[in-house]
């Protein structure tokens, strides 16, 4: 009796993770079983599932064929596995948080090299999303990736955290716009740390116009 009860308790999460209702009618019917099984595997491995569902829904919205949707979702699963492996290598506390897995997968998709991501992960406790996005933003502006990571880690040591780290990358981009070289821009911002200007607050007009939309559950 206890054996059956234990089996039922183990099976329950898998059954509860079925995402068919969210997928049906949104992606080709041929893709639903494959995506559903990939999501179930991810759930069984303790990986976040929402990025996989979003990838499938994105493919459906873009009228992509079933095989390509399934392949993209499978590729996303591999990215999540790689992200978790990186977190484990960097010494993150086990079990790693699903939000951190998603964050690292984001950083890798945005083109950050694994060693750079590992350095940032090792230098900062969760949540690390803003730090990794800040480094990726700098890389997108063609700053040297290692120097970008150095700047963000220096900002962390100077007491900046979370979204304020995005202000560091924004400040470096502004220095570029003022005509400085990449190296000069990084040096100027680093010299000013932790004093970087914050983002403009949303205007009352923007707040007044804002609409609330139904959003999916967080990953």
């Amino acid at each position: 009796m206890r054996w059956w009860l234990g089996l039922a308790l183990l099976a329950q999460p898998v059954v509860a993770q079925s995402v068919r209702p969210r997928l049906e009618g949104r992606i080709p019917n041929d893709a639903v079983p494959g995506v559903d099984s990939i999501v179930a595997v991810a759930s069984g491995e303790g990986l976040p599932t929402e990025p996989l569902i979003q990838k499938a829904l994105e493919g459906g919205a873009k009228h992509v064929t079933a095989p390509r949707i399934t392949a993209a979702v499978q590729a996303s699963l591999e990215q999540l596995r790689g992200a978790r492996a990186l977190l484990e290598r960097a010494g993150d506390t086990l079990p790693v948080k699903t939000a951190e897995v998603t964050t690292v997968a984001w950083a890798l998709r945005r083109g950050l090299p694994q060693p750079v991501v590992e350095r940032v992960v090792a230098a900062l406790k969760p949540p690390r999303a803003a730090a990794l996005h800040a480094v990726a933003d700098l890389a997108a502006h063609r700053f040297n990736v290692d120097s970008s990571a150095d700047l963000i880690i220096a900002a962390i040591h100077d007491g900046l955290q979370r979204e304020r780290l995005l202000d560091v990358s924004a400040a470096a981009a502004h220095e570029l716009q003022r005509g400085h070289t990449h190296a000069e821009a990084l040096a100027r911002v680093r010299a000013e740390l932790p004093n970087v200007p914050g983002p403009p607050r949303p205007t009352a007009n923007a707040v007044g116009r804002a609409r609330r939309v139904a959003t999916p559950p967080p990953p």
Binding site: G59, H133, A140, H141, E163, A210, R211, T215, P218
Partner: protein, 202 residues
Amino acid sequence: MNPLDPRIHEALDGEREASALPEELARAVRPLERAVALLAAHVPGPSLEGRVLAAIRAPAPRRGGRFVQWLVTPHSITFHVRPVWSVAFAAVVAVLTLFPTGHHGPDIGEREGIAQFVGRFPGARSVSVVGSFNDWRDGSIALEDIDHDGVWRATVVLPTGAYEYMFVVDGERFVPDHLADRLVADDFGRENSVVIVRPARR
């Protein structure tokens, strides 16, 4: 003042023919004769009494006419206000202007922020934005081109975080946000834009 020649008097009074005067006196008589003719032609206006009676007898203007007349006639208005009331009035106007009490939009939570989507799509019939914030469901966030200049906008409240998105033009064409700094491959051969929503309350 030179005394007038008596012969000129006589000519003006008709007691002597002007033509019989010497040429020098005749030249002096001619402008005087024109002046006399002008004075004789003047018709005097009505007397004061006549003008008052005419005004009394004129029909009274209608009520609307009197009101219009009152509106267009300058009036002097004088207020006697203590300075403390003037200061209080100015303070109330300033508060109402700086902190309007009207519609403020939705209440924004601590872990929510505002995302503004702007795209230039001249000639588009409809533009919406789809992304991981709305399950890539077309039509749930429609952009508006209020002044018909081809610039479409939407402002929405979203939970803080990073999201991938694209614009959908005319319900069928997927277009990345060219104003976005952040782009990421979408695994379907194209690129999604990335927006990071920061907390509105800081």
